[in-house]
C-alpha cells in the first residue's frame, strides 16, 4: 500500500513539475490526434450532409456500413495499415511506417465513422425548413450548408469531442504503426503500455491521470453540448 502511495506521489510530482519527457509524450499524443480530427472533419461533414439530405439508392446501406466501421477494433486498423505501409507492402515506397503521419492516417480511419455517424444524426435532426429558408433568402448552396452546420453546431462539437476521445485513448493502431519510438511516436497510451512492462509505474500512472482527466473533461463538455443541441432542436 505504501509503495502504491509512493508511486502515486511520484506520478503527481512528474505532472506538476512539468517533467519534460512526460509532457513531450502528451504533446505528441495531442498533436497526432488533433491533426487527425482536423483532416477528418471536412470530408466527414460532406459525407454526413449527403447521407442526411440526399435520397439515393443504397443510402441506408451506406449508413449501416458507417455504423459498422465504428466498431472496428483499433488493432485491425493497425494491422491493415501495417501491411499496406510496410516495406514490402503496396504503399511501402511512401516510407510512412513508424512515423507520426502513419499514426495520423490510422486515427483518421478510426475517427471518420464516429464523426460521420454523429454528424449525420445531428444534421438529420435539423428541420428541412432551415435549408429551404436559407436558399430562398439568397444563400448559395455552400452558404446554406454553412448555415446548416451553424444550426447543428452543438452536435458538430459533440461529434468532434467524441471522436477525439476515442482516438487519443486508442493504443492498438498507434503501437503497431507508430512503433512507440521515444521522442517521435511515443504517445500517452503506448508509453503507458511500455512503462508498465518495464515495471516503471510512476510515468504510466501520471499519463493515465491525464487520460482520465481528459475523459472527464470531454464527457462534461459532451453533456453540455447534447443538452444545448436538444434545446435547439426542440425550439
Amino acid at each position: 500500500m505504501n509503495e502504491l502511495m509512493a508511486t502515486m506521489g511520484k506520478a503527481l510530482h512528474l505532472l506538476v513539475s512539468f517533467d519534460p519527457a512526460l509532457w513531450e509524450i502528451i504533446g505528441v499524443s495531442f498533436r497526432v490526434s488533433l491533426t487527425a480530427i482536423l483532416v477528418a472533419l471536412p470530408p466527414a461533414l460532406l459525407v454526413a450532409l449527403v447521407l442526411a439530405r440526399v435520397a439515393f439508392p443504397g443510402r441506408w446501406l451506406a449508413i449501416s456500413l458507417v455504423n459498422t466501421f465504428m466498431a472496428v477494433p483499433t488493432v485491425v486498423v493497425g494491422l491493415v495499415l501495417f501491411m499496406l505501409l510496410s516495406r514490402s507492402g503496396p504503399l511501402g515506397e511512401w516510407q510512412l511506417l513508424f512515423t507520426q503521419r502513419a499514426m495520423v492516417i490510422g486515427q483518421i480511419i478510426l475517427a471518420s465513422p464516429i464523426l460521420i455517424a454523429m454528424l449525420h444524426s445531428s444534421l438529420q435532426s435539423i428541420d428541412q425548413r432551415a435549408w429551404e429558408t436559407a436558399r430562398q433568402l439568397g444563400a448559395g448552396r455552400l452558404q446554406a450548408f454553412a448555415m446548416l452546420i451553424h444550426e447543428a453546431r452543438f452536435g458538430v462539437i459533440a461529434a468532434v469531442l467524441a471522436a477525439f476521445g476515442r482516438i487519443i485513448a486508442e493504443v492498438g493502431s498507434a503501437v503497431m504503426i507508430g512503433g512507440n519510438i521515444e521522442h517521435f511516436t511515443r504517445t500517452i497510451t503506448t508509453a503507458i503500455a511500455l512503462e508498465t512492462l518495464k515495471g516503471e509505474f510512476a510515468q504510466g500512472i501520471a499519463l493515465g491521470m491525464v487520460l482520465l482527466l481528459l475523459a472527464l473533461l470531454l464527457n462534461v463538455l459532451l453533456g453540455v453540448m447534447r443538452g444545448r443541441g436538444q434545446q435547439i432542436v426542440s425550439a
Partner: protein, 229 residues
C-alpha cells in the same frame, strides 16, 4: 405574370389533390387562396415557389419582362412557411444572415437592417433571441427577412393562423404595406379575416379544382371547367 398549365399533384399512389388545367395571374394583386384543411393549399404554394416538383404540368413565371422561368430566382419569389423557420440567433442576427448572403457589408447592411426592424416594429427586440418571440412577432420577423430582398411575389402560407386579434391586425398592416411597395402576394387562409377581406382576388381550392374569382368585379371562373356548373 404566372402561367400554370395542366397542373396536378398528389402524394404516393393516391389520386391527385386537385387538377388545374389552366391558370393565368398578372402577378400584381393580393390574392386569397381559400380552401378547407387538407385541400392542398400548402402543396400548391410550394409548387408555385419551386420548392417541390409537380407530378404533372408546368408552372411558368415571367418577372420584370424577362424570359419565362420555372421557378424564377430565389429572392424574387419567396414562400413563407406557416411556422417560419427562424435561425438560431438574435432577431437582428436573422436579418444579418440575409444581408451577408446579399453581399451587403458595413454601414449599408446596418442601416438596411435597422430600418427594416423599425418598419416591422421589431427594433426593441433586435437583441432578443429570435426563438423567444411570440407567434405574431415570429411572423413579423419572417416578413422583415423577406422584405429585405424586395421580392416581386410573396407566397404566404396561413400567415395569420393561430394568432390573436392584435397580432392579426399587425400582420395585416405589414402585408398591406408590402403590397403598396409593388409586391404581389398570394396568401392562404382557410378562414375569413380582416386580411382576407382586403384581398383583390380569390382562388378557391374545392372539390379537386380551382375557382378563380375577382373580388372587385365579382367574376368567377372555375377550373376544371364544369366542375361546379
Amino acid at each position: 405574370m404566372l402561367e400554370v398549365s395542366r397542373l396536378s399533384h398528389g402524394f404516393g399512389r393516391r389520386p391527385p389533390l386537385w387538377e388545374i388545367p389552366h391558370l393565368r395571374w398578372d402577378g400584381r394583386s393580393l390574392v386569397h387562396l381559400r380552401g378547407d384543411n387538407g385541400s392542398g393549399k400548402t402543396t400548391l404554394l410550394r409548387l408555385l415557389a419551386g420548392l417541390d416538383t409537380p407530378r404533372r404540368g408546368t408552372i411558368r413565371w415571367t418577372l420584370d419582362d424577362g424570359a419565362p422561368a420555372a421557378p424564377p430566382r430565389f429572392g424574387d419569389l419567396l414562400y413563407l412557411h406557416q411556422q417560419p423557420y427562424l435561425f438560431d440567433t438574435s432577431v437582428a442576427g436573422n436579418l444579418r444572415h440575409v444581408a451577408r448572403w446579399q453581399g451587403w457589408r458595413g454601414d449599408d447592411a446596418r442601416s438596411r437592417i435597422a430600418s427594416m426592424l423599425a418598419r416591422c416594429g421589431l427594433a426593441d427586440h433586435a437583441r432578443q433571441h429570435a426563438r423567444s418571440l411570440s407567434g405574431g412577432e415570429r411572423m413579423r420577423l419572417a416578413l422583415a427577412r423577406a422584405w429585405l430582398l424586395s421580392p416581386r411575389v410573396l407566397l404566404l402560407d396561413e400567415p395569420t393562423a393561430s394568432l390573436d386579434r392584435q397580432a392579426i391586425d399587425d400582420i395585416t398592416a405589414l402585408i398591406l404595406s408590402l403590397r403598396e411597395t409593388g409586391c404581389a402576394i398570394v396568401l392562404s387562409a382557410h378562414q375569413q379575416s380582416v386580411l382576407t377581406e382586403r384581398c383583390d382576388a380569390e382562388w378557391h381550392l374545392e372539390r379537386g379544382g380551382l375557382q378563380v374569382g375577382d373580388m372587385q368585379a365579382d367574376i368567377t371562373e372555375t377550373w376544371p371547367l364544369g366542375v361546379n356548373s
